[in-house]
Symmetry: C2
Subunit: 98 residues, 2 copies
């Protein structure tokens, strides 16, 4: 047999996986809230977002809130599919049903 199917390198790393998972449960999330949720610095979240955007998994909506500009993170359909595929791949791989 060849190799085991690879996981999506964009979505697999813990921080990005957790972010995708968190975003999958809401319509959108504020940048600052996501940063606190992951427990990382602004710069780190920003860099992860850049990669996820490049892969088309996340979209950033900039809109004012309380006077100041805020950035809202939205998991795209593609990102949602990638997350789901990851979970499914893992289940298949592990042969775990429940």
């Amino acid at each position: 047999m060849t190799a085991v199917p690879q996981f999506d390198p964009v979505i697999h790393p813990p921080a990005r996986l957790q972010l995708a998972a968190a975003l999958s449960e809401v319509n959108d999330m504020e940048f600052g809230r996501a940063r606190d949720l992951l427990g990382v610095s602004d710069s780190v979240l920003s860099k992860h977002l850049a990669q996820m955007q490049e892969a088309g998994y996340v979209r950033l909506r900039k809109a004012p809130l309380g006077g100041r500009q805020r950035t809202w993170l939205v998991l795209t359909t593609q990102g949602r599919a990638a997350l789901k595929a990851h979970v499914r791949a893992l289940q298949d791989l592990a042969g775990i049903v429940g």
Copy 2:
């Protein structure tokens, strides 16, 4: 709410996750077979195994086969549980049922 629950750093990296998954489907696997399955070099597999052993997820059984000594990899109960927990954590996180 504090941060998102962390994934087990020992079992989360792709190579080790795939190895754990592969081992979860069999009673044991030969070192060489696992190496080919993952598509890595001897040294790399050996190093991953060292970490998984240290975590108690894998046990190595050295036994002769065809005259030469071979190493058999066995996923421990603990390793199996860790894999299962990982999958479940992911499911919970993603809120994906099917």
